[in-house]
């Protein structure tokens, strides 16, 4: 065994962990330390340009400094974000540092002064032995962070994702070392069962129980699969976790593989998440080098091989049996269950598929102990859950909350109080999720969706909708997505999504002809929506078809007045369903100036100069540009 490997065993077993945590603020710093938050979204926001600017600044002035790439706090509205620690001072975090702000910012901070542009200042990491910045809040006092319960995200913005040393510093791999030393696989399963951890992927199956099933299977070969497909694009929490802390995922799958006696781990990840893959690959290399995975880990005669399998973004690939087919190199079509993968899975061997967030949580259980884990959450739903906040949020991003919190609790963090009243609904759970009416904002979000009124988080995507959004348009959007993604194997799902979509489309479009009972036909469509939904829920093969009508049903239940508006009044209050409208030119008022024809993006307006023009309805996309352009009020909307 190499020296490095022996050193690691020593360290993991003996090195004490300091229980005090001061974030980025560190003692004994002699030169400026710059921490840049890198994640896939901050790269798009422009952090790379800012980094270049920082490097240029320091080389030009010839000052010594150290630059670290750290993980992202999960607050999209603060990106691009950097933190700086000057010797003897608390580390201070800045937000929205675009490349043109860098020079001014560094000019002042390097002189231990706050920048002129106060809007850049976010917070400082308080440390009792360092001098603090005046008038800068402690990061733990910021509402955005204070109101969350950040357990999985605790080290976000602090830990360096591309370094195993950084993870070891914050207690990494200790849980795994402890398990290898002291616990049998059965102990691990039992402890996990006691913790009450349940799958975060949507199914909500008890993870400990699932592992035990696989452990009790006598098969000689077993697989452990991490489902990091994150095929629901509106949910980014799993990917954020992997991007910020790939080693924690690896520790988790090692624990899982040990618990079920599997020798092969496959991490299935969507190829669109380039940064996450890159970091995982780097992390795997490091773990191999440190002897934490591979053959004969810590001389325990346990072999665990980890490999990464790339997929390519099809929603249904997230379903566990489809995912297994995809890995086997077949079309990713779900299979009927039972048999469950824990009996017959990948290549016919017993297989456990777990969501990435579940795996992260299992590390917490063993690192901090069962009791500690059970402290957060509510009865039967323990631990925390990550939500991806989208839509009309004032502070979009990824937040972590205890299980059992209400929609209002989340809104308090991500919305300004003055915008509360304009929130019309929240859509929770991704394409197969539900609309939540403000009347239900005080209901708990838990697994226990049987008890009255509690809500179900699905994939954790949390979309805030206000008056400018049309519920029916969003229902249509999700149905369209599901219709495209339906694998086409079972008829209720393939045809059902198609029919639902057709009916909703008809509601949002202008009537074909002006027949009198058109509204009645549309109204009949509403009744059919319910019938079709019921059939789909009862007869579809997999969760996609079973849950596809959720959006439709919940919108029908809570927002029926919007449907009525569309059907009888032909009116979309939010102004989104423009297809209900018809633009026509009033012949007498048109002088034929031709401005509208020039502006029209689709060349839908024709006519000779100085004579009245005409709109070709089939080409018209109802953008309204002509209405704005016309100086003679010659265009009217029907």
């Amino acid at each position: 065994m190499t020296k490095l490997k022996q050193e690691i065993i020593q360290r993991l077993n003996t090195e004490p962990l300091s229980d005090k945590f001061y974030g980025l603020s560190k003692l004994n710093i002699t030169i400026p330390h710059i921490y840049c938050e890198i994640s896939s979204s901050s790269i798009i926001a422009g952090i790379k340009d800012s980094i270049q600017e920082i490097k240029k600044y320091f080389t030009e002035l010839d000052i010594e400094y150290k630059l670290f790439e750290v993980s992202c706090k999960g607050a999209y509205h603060y990106q691009p974000s950097i933190s700086i620690q000057m010797p003897g001072m608390n580390a201070i975090s800045f937000k929205n540092v675009y490349y043109n702000e860098v020079t001014n910012l560094l000019d002042s901070v390097l002189n231990n002064m706050l920048p002129m542009n106060k809007s850049l200042i976010l917070a400082q990491y308080f440390h009792p032995d360092l001098s603090s910045w005046s008038d800068v809040p402690d990061i733990e006092d910021l509402d955005f962070f204070r109101l969350q319960n950040r357990k999985l995200l605790k080290y976000n913005g602090i830990i360096q994702a591309n370094s195993i040393e950084s993870y070891l510093e914050y207690g990494g791999y200790r849980a795994f070392a402890k398990i290898l030393n002291k616990k049998t696989p059965l102990d691990v399963c039992k402890e996990l069962e006691k913790s009450g951890l349940r799958g975060r992927g949507g199914g909500g199956f008890k993870t400990g129980e699932k592992w035990k099933l696989a452990l009790n299977n006598p098969s000689s070969k077993k697989y452990f699969i991490c489902n990091a497909d994150e095929s629901d694009f509106s949910s980014k929490s799993g990917i954020l976790l992997i991007e910020s802390n790939p080693h924690m995922l690896i520790e988790g799958v090692l624990i899982g593989a040990y618990a079920i006696n599997a020798s092969d781990v496959i991490i299935y990840i969507n190829n669109n998440h380039k940064l996450a893959i890159e970091r995982l690959e780097k992390a795997l290399e490091e773990t191999l080098e440190y002897g934490l995975c591979g053959e004969d880990i810590f001389k325990s005669a346990i072999n665990i091989r980890i490999s990464i399998h790339k997929g390519l973004g099809a929603y249904v690939c997230g379903e566990e049996t489809a995912l297994i087919s995809s890995i086997e190199g077949k079309r990713a079509i779900p299979k009927a269950k039972p048999p469950y993968p824990s009996e017959v899975g990948l290549f016919g061997y017993p297989t456990i598929v777990n969501n990435s967030e579940t795996i992260f949580n299992s590390v917490l259980v063993f690192r901090d102990g069962v009791d500690n884990f059970k402290q957060s959450g509510t009865y039967l739903s323990y631990g925390t859950k990550l939500y991806t906040i989208n839509g009309n949020a004032d502070f979009p991003g990824i937040i972590e909350m205890d299980m059992g919190k209400t929609v209002n609790d989340i809104l308090k963090i991500v919305s300004l109080p003055e915008n509360y009243n304009s929130i019309k609904a929240v859509h929770l759970g991704g394409p197969t999720g539900v609309f939540i009416h403000p009347d239900n904002f005080n209901n708990q979000i838990t697994y226990d969706n049987l008890s009255k009124g509690s809500l179900w988080f699905g994939s954790g995507s949390f979309v805030i909708l206000n008056e400018n959004n049309c519920i029916i348009d969003i229902t249509k959007y999700y149905l369209d997505f599901l219709n495209k993604e339906s694998c086409g194997k079972c008829i209720p799902c393939r045809e059902g999504t198609q029919q639902l979509l057709e009916i909703i489309k008809r509601i949002t479009e202008k009537p074909d002809s002006n027949i009198r009972h058109d509204s009645l036909i549309r109204f009949k469509g509403l009744l059919q929506l319910k019938e079709i939904s019921e059939v789909m829920q009862q007869t579809s093969l997999c969760g996609l078809g079973k849950n596809a009508p959720e959006s439709v049903l919940s919108s029908l239940e809570f927002f029926d007045e919007e449907y009525e508006d569309h059907i009888f009044e032909k009116n979309c209050k939010a102004g989104v369903c423009t297809d209900l409208k018809e633009y026509v030119i009033i012949v007498d008022a048109c002088v034929g100036c031709g401005i509208c024809a020039k502006r029209c993006p689709t060349d839908a307006i024709i006519g000779c100069a100085k004579t009245s023009h005409f709109i070709i309805q089939d080409k018209c996309i109802k953008c309204g540009i002509c209405l704005d352009a016309c100086k003679f009020d010659a265009i009217k909307v029907n």
Partner: protein, 147 residues
């Protein structure tokens, strides 16, 4: 392609096909028939099977993209920010046909599902460059530069 094939193993397991296809598309931009048939020989599967695997994933292309490949995000966040107008503006500048290509072959257009910068939407991607917080004016400017 010859060289790529040379570096590939001579016998390919079925489960390796998808990663290979992804890798190939990343390098060459699309999957061509010659490659699929060469792959099918090595994997000992009919070419139709390989095509079947690939066609399951909407992100595989079977024909090359234009010089400027425009991707407009239609993820939920961007959808809520009313991308209809932006789409109209893009169509106006590129004179796209119904197959998503402009008649001069310079532009191709597609909707994609979330480009990963939801807070800075609407987002558009042309080849490898992202454009965030798009407005109609931005699009006019971008196409002015491209022309």
């Amino acid at each position: 392609m010859e060289k790529y094939l040379k570096d590939l193993k001579s016998e390919i397991d079925r489960s390796e096909i998808l990663p290979i296809l992804i890798d190939y598309q990343e390098k060459f931009g699309f999957l061509n028939y010659d490659f699929i048939s060469a792959l099918s020989e090595r994997a000992n599967l009919p070419a139709g099977n390989i095509y079947g695997i690939a066609s399951f994933y909407p992100q595989f292309n079977f024909s090359p993209k234009a010089k400027y490949n425009i991707k407009l995000c239609s993820g939920i966040s961007c959808h809520l920010k009313n991308i209809k107008e932006l789409k109209a503006e893009i169509f106006k500048h590129t004179k796209l046909n119904s197959n998503g290509f402009s008649s001069d072959g310079k532009y191709s257009f597609e909707f994609v599902n979330c480009l990963g910068a939801c807070a800075q939407g609407p987002v558009m991607k042309i080849n490898d460059k992202h454009y965030i917080n798009l407005t109609k004016m931005d699009i006019i400017k971008i196409f002015h530069e491209l022309e």
